[in-house]
Subunit: 505 residues, 2 copies
């Protein structure tokens, strides 16, 4: 993530475990990722968890002091060094000789052009088995009581102010999702609508035996019908929150420095769930048509949410910021003059007389890639950032960030897909310099050069997308064929075939 | 507005000024529009007005104790009685012999089937001249200093819990818009981008002489460009807020009882601005294609905003409500069991263990037309409702309601319109029983039966839409041709031709 977090003291995980000297990025002068202090007073919901789902998975998180790349890349020590080389910026993909990723998924990545020591993107691709929740005695259910569930999982994590959060999320987020789904194994496989209420046997919280379900028919007549799909969405949403809470708990011991955007795909029971928190993006290219599967969460797209929070909780602004937006910084000499402004409930602009408190820095300022919350961070959703503070201040920024994703659902069974229909996930390194239409054109160009049943075509496509966004070194920079600057950011891309070979394996 | 406000004591303005006996609607048993008390502690933005724009227009609001219909209907006393007859439900339109509405706009309305004594919808259609703000001496500007502006204006106001708010809004909202635009007269006619900052001469706040404008070029390089269009949007947004504040101030003296949805169209300098706060709706039918020009604001569409407010400001819930949503009311015997819930940041559902505070009534409950905030009101944006309280409680509901509209802009110059292209505005009485496609079909059927240059065709269309939603009395009710129930609500419809005769007069 280039340019999206101003942080002069963002610690990097060095190979020796001590903060290394690192090149300071000239565009990161203004803020500090402060040492652990009192947790920020984020207005968080009271924990409202499933009775027995509260246990965090994988409590035995080992400190990962060394730089790492996704295990499916199967990098040798030499390969790891090559992947870490800012000068060469070699594109990395899983080896053609090894075990393929599920669904013949294509993947490619490249390190940034020098903005951070290591590649702060991380990725994960897994097939995850979900066993139904065991009873309190620990004995497994009888086999007849229902089988477990499998889901396919892809995740891209774009770190900022350090690689720790992205690395941790890439190892653990799918386990949190699995944990949330455990209670739903039977319910999701039952064609009946989900029960609104589950009876809990004393001492066996979370038991969801069918015999203990209170079906909708036994409840009031006035009740909402809740779909299976919305249970999966809720499970993913809560998994994001639990992942974020785990980062908050473990940040001291395990160097969970910085934060990360998270873009995650779950395929379960015929449906694709795309969950996004941050500014990575996903699109489906289907028969040449583009279907957006996410939207970005930035200070611009979430301006009204941020301003409302600042207005309702002015203590979060610490007397340093104003929740009003101005088209530029107000200057002291302009007191009493009238300037354009926007309040939290406005989409248009109007003039207001400048008063003393309007001289504070606006909570939201800037445009496009330069838009910032509290002059510091350019994404408004994601995981981590628990230590992020405003420069020269102890004011925490985390209360304004949301760890909740937007989840979009795509029903794979509603359309007969051909091998050229793909879901493309990319970090902002891809999208900053590549339009949806350019991606669709590359999909068409690359896939048509391969046989439909050649499983390597999706890797070739991912590589072409990464190369097209990186460009080649020329004229003191990485340049695209049109001579515009390529992306100097970390770039990571998944290409998931929706109807290709192995799709439904 | 049928079924959208539960209020047993909603005062009606009687012809004699005293509360009349009225039929109590069986679906309004639960809440009370309390007598004026301390104003609710709504979290409102601090007034951030244009320096000289604070004076409310039309301070001389006379108490309107008698039932009224839009003046453009030109109703005689006998006509007024006929319009007020629940049994006949005669459709009302402006007389064919009188002066036509601007743009040959069509209008039709019908009273409800008995749910309230009078028709609580109101309408307004005006051509409004905006003179530039005068200097502090009160002397008009020199003519050379720029001419005034004209805007065309249409408004539908759907009242609830009494007709006062709708009546007041229909008389005054366009004046508030005019007042907000006064400062912008010169700026909107200047092809240059709006100045970000206006110099104020001491003693002449609000002066916007061109000579005193600080153009963008003299400001920092990092600044947002603000469009003329967004200034008009901001003016309309602030006009809604000022209208709402005026209702709050004058509710004691002038019987501004109840509240109203407001759907307003402003045509200014080639663009159509559609501002909506409530559950009325507007669509454009252009060459048979349907273009939605508004969305509805209800407890369902605004669930997350409402829940977030309840979560951040729990004092607004008064210990009586929970901000969590449940698919049905939780029962005391279910304590400790696990029930589906949604928090403010979730779109999916999950199970949680029921705790004591979950037994409170949910802030948002119900579905569709039965969805309610605090078990009381079914719309979440609009004007008025300053006295609305939860039944058997002093808890104010107004803090959860927003007076801000969503404004959509349609550029009339971007498309060559034919006489059959129309903008249709309707209160929920129309849309509850009529789909967008049915409206489009009626547009096609009725307009094709008239000559393109026959100005009465739009009135005929408005009447057909109202009749189609009302139905005919049959089988103990008002029935549509398909034998479904027609709307028993007040129904009001504007049909605005986008390219018809007189459109640009």
């Amino acid at each position: 993530m280039l340019n999206r977090v101003r942080s002069a003291v963002a610690h990097l995980v060095s190979s020796g475990g001590a903060p290394p000297s690192r090149p300071k990025s000239p565009d990161l002068p203004n803020a500090t990722s402060a040492p652990p202090a009192a947790p920020p007073q984020a207005p968080r919901s009271p924990p409202a968890r499933a009775g027995s789902g509260g246990a965090a998975p994988a409590r035995t998180v080992e400190a990962r002091a060394s730089f790492s790349r996704p295990t499916f890349l199967q990098l040798s020590p030499g390969g790891l060094r090559r992947a870490d080389d800012h000068a060469g910026r070699a594109v990395q993909s899983p080896p053609d000789t090894g075990r393929r990723l599920p669904w013949s998924t294509g993947y490619a990545e490249v390190i940034n052009a020098g903005k951070s020591r290591h590649n702060e993107d991380q990725a994960c691709c897994e097939v995850v088995y979900v066993e139904g929740r065991r009873s309190v005695s620990g004995a497994p259910r009888e086999p007849s009581r229902g089988q477990g569930l499998c889901f396919y999982y892809w995740g891209l994590f774009d770190g900022h102010a350090g690689g720790g959060a992205a690395e941790m999320a890439s190892r653990l987020l799918h386990r949190h999702i699995r944990e949330q789904l455990k209670d739903l194994v039977e319910i999701l496989q039952d064609p009946l609508p989900p029960p609104l209420c589950l009876l809990s046997t004393p001492g066996a919280p979370g038991s969801s035996d069918s015999s203990q379900l209170v079906g909708p028919q036994s409840c009031w007549s006035s009740q909402k019908e809740v779909t299976h799909e919305s249970l999966v969405v809720g499970a993913i949403e809560n998994a994001f929150q639990l992942m974020d809470e785990q980062m908050a708990r473990e940040r001291r011991g395990h160097q969970v420095e910085g934060g990360c955007c998270a873009l995650v795909v779950v395929y379960l029971l015929g449906k694709v769930y795309v969950a996004n928190a941050g500014d990575s993006r996903a699109i489906i290219v289907r028969n040449g048509e583009i279907i957006p599967m996410s939207r970005e969460f930035t200070p611009e797209t979430e301006r009204q949410r941020l301003q409302l929070l600042g207005f309702l909780k002015p203590e979060l602004l610490g007397g340093e910021f104003t929740h009003l937006e101005f088209p530029r910084r107000v200057q002291p000499k302009e007191l009493g003059q009238r300037m354009l402004y926007r309040d939290h409930n406005m989409t248009g602009w109007a003039y207001k007389k400048i008063e003393l408190e309007d001289l504070r820095f606006p909570l939201v300022c800037g445009e496009g890639k330069k838009a910032r919350v509290m002059a510091t961070i350019g994404v408004t959703r994601g995981l981590g950032d628990h230590n992020l503070r405003v420069c020269s201040s102890t004011l925490p920024i985390k209360p304004f960030l949301s760890c909740f994703p937007e989840v979009r659902v795509y029903d794979l069974t509603q359309y007969e897909h051909c091998p050229d229909d793909v879901l493309v996930l990319g970090t902002d390194g891809l999208w900053d310099v590549t339009s949806d239409c350019e991606v669709a054109a590359t999909v068409d160009r690359v896939l048509s050069a391969y046989e439909p049943n050649d499983p390597s075509r999706y890797t070739a496509l991912a590589q072409a997308l990464v190369l097209g966004a990186r460009g080649t070194p020329r004229d003191r920079g990485w340049r695209l064929p049109n001579n515009k600057l390529g992306s100097g950011d970390d770039i990571s891309v998944f290409v998931i075939p929706l109807g290709g070979p192995g799709s439904y394996s």
